[in-house]
């Protein structure tokens, strides 16, 4: 990585953050078969933008903003809402000691969360994922998505209400492995 305010080129960004971007794309509902393609598009777009200039936004936030717009555009062009599950096989819970029962339970949990996230469209899902799963602040999300922070709050509020409602409707009890 470059330091001292120098721009970071696409290749360096790719090395450092490609997996993060791939994970983010999966979380916002990109079908697994399209992830590689979209990862390429994200970093190619980053290159076209002149690379990342360290500043207010973090590189990951900036890349998430690009990824969101790339996917949103793709999803709209395909006239569909993201509906891909959270790819539980690839999101196997990080654990130092493999436990098949826990993995099955974790997979079930992620599928349940995926179903709830399906309530969200391409505008709301990334905000929910970035805030609730990736732990970004609303200001950081606004920076990354290049939208006003008020828009982030509004989308987050709507997204949380929908996800909570989905869980309350489902009344699901967690399966303990």
């Amino acid at each position: 990585m470059s330091a001292g305010g120098e721009r970071v080129g696409a290749a360096d960004l790719f090395r450092a953050h490609a997996r993060f971007v791939a994970g983010f794309l999966l979380r916002i509902g990109v079908p697994r078969g399209e992830v590689d393609d979209l990862v390429q598009e994200v970093f190619l777009t980053a290159h076209r933008k002149g690379g990342f200039e360290p500043g207010r936004a973090k590189a990951t936030t900036w890349l998430c903003g690009i990824a969101t717009r790339v996917w949103s555009n793709r999803a709209r062009s395909m006239r569909r809402k993201p509906t891909e599950p959270l790819a539980p096989a690839e999101h196997a819970i990080a654990s130092s000691q493999p436990d098949p029962e826990r993995e099955v339970a974790a997979k079930r949990d992620l599928e349940r969360l995926s179903r709830a996230l399906d309530e969200l469209d391409a505008d709301h899902r990334p905000v929910f994922v970035l805030y609730e799963l990736d732990g970004l602040s609303c200001a950081e999300i606004a920076e990354g998505l290049a939208v006003p922070v008020g828009t982030v709050y509004r989308r987050l509020h709507t997204a949380r209400a929908r996800v909570r409602a989905a869980y309350e409707r489902g009344g699901a009890k967690r399966h303990v492995g």
């Binding site: 790719f14 393609d37 990862v39 933008k49 990342f52 500043g55 990951t60 196997a92 609730e132």
Partner: protein, 260 residues
């Protein structure tokens, strides 16, 4: 906006459904997906090299703008020019290696067209004052999420790469370059211009028949028809595609398109 004014994250909110809190915690701790970094980086470098190496849009919302050419690849030159260079073309998620006698010019000839409208303008009007619905005065300071850790490049070859290598021609004939370029254009048009994608895919089938990229063109035709809401045409073609190419890298997309 400071963290103190932000809503409590649902996984820390005792009022949120217990199952939701637990699921969010599990998802947040989930491992990142495996990714073939080496192949991906090679493909990226090829695409950048094919574009001439320089950024076409130096404006960088959120990160400052105005740079011109500051995004040089950190990992070496993108596409080496000269005899014996190798072209790595990204085609529908599969990597295709083609031997080349003229790396630089070949790379330009084979480059995928820049996707249009990759960065749609945010049309939502500026929001009114922030409306934190669930203020969290007692929320603890949250740790900054850190970028993904570096991953070891996977030694596992990509499925698409294996398939493509098996079909590698001995030399890039002019017709092959044209076929590849036309297919790339069709593929790029899928992102927003399905009618053009359909036209180009059919033109490719007419000109090149059962050529090297016929499988991708068939898939593009199905996806374009589906995007145009021409399900009656998309479905039989998609079913035929799945019968002919059940293990295609495009099979899942085709299956999904005709199921919608």
């Amino acid at each position: 906006m400071s963290d103190e004014t932000e809503p409590v994250r649902l996984r820390d909110d005792p009022d949120a459904p217990e199952a939701l809190r637990e699921d969010l915690a599990a998802a947040a701790g989930a491992a990142l997906p495996a990714l073939d970094l080496e192949a991906g980086l090679a493909s990226l470098e090829a695409a950048i090299g094919a574009e001439g190496g320089g950024p076409s849009d130096p404006g960088t919302p959120g990160a400052g703008g105005g740079a011109t050419g500051g995004a040089s690849l950190g990992g070496g030159a993108a596409m080496a020019a000269g005899a014996g260079a190798v072209i790595l073309a990204l085609i529908g998620g599969a990597y295709l290696w083609l031997a080349s006698d003229d790396g630089a010019s070949e790379a330009v000839a084979a480059r995928p067209p820049a996707p249009e409208a990759v960065e749609p303008v945010e049309v939502e009007a500026a929001a009114p004052a922030p409306e934190p619905a669930e203020p969290a005065p007692t929320e603890a300071v949250e740790p900054e999420p850190e970028p993904a850790p570096e991953a070891e490049p996977s030694a596992r070859p990509r499925r698409g790469a294996r398939r493509a290598v098996a079909r590698r021609p001995s030399s890039p004939e002019p017709d092959l370059r044209e076929e590849m370029e036309l297919t790339n254009r069709a593929r790029a048009a899928l992102a927003g211009r399905p009618a053009e994608a359909l036209r180009l895919a059919r033109e490719g089938q007419r000109r090149f028949g059962d050529g090297l990229f016929s499988e991708e063109r068939e898939a593009i035709e199905v996806l374009a028809l589906a995007a145009l809401d021409r399900a009656d045409e998309a479905r039989p073609r998609g079913e035929r595609f799945l019968r002919r190419h059940p293990r295609s890298t495009f099979a899942e997309r085709v299956r999904r398109a005709i199921a919608e």
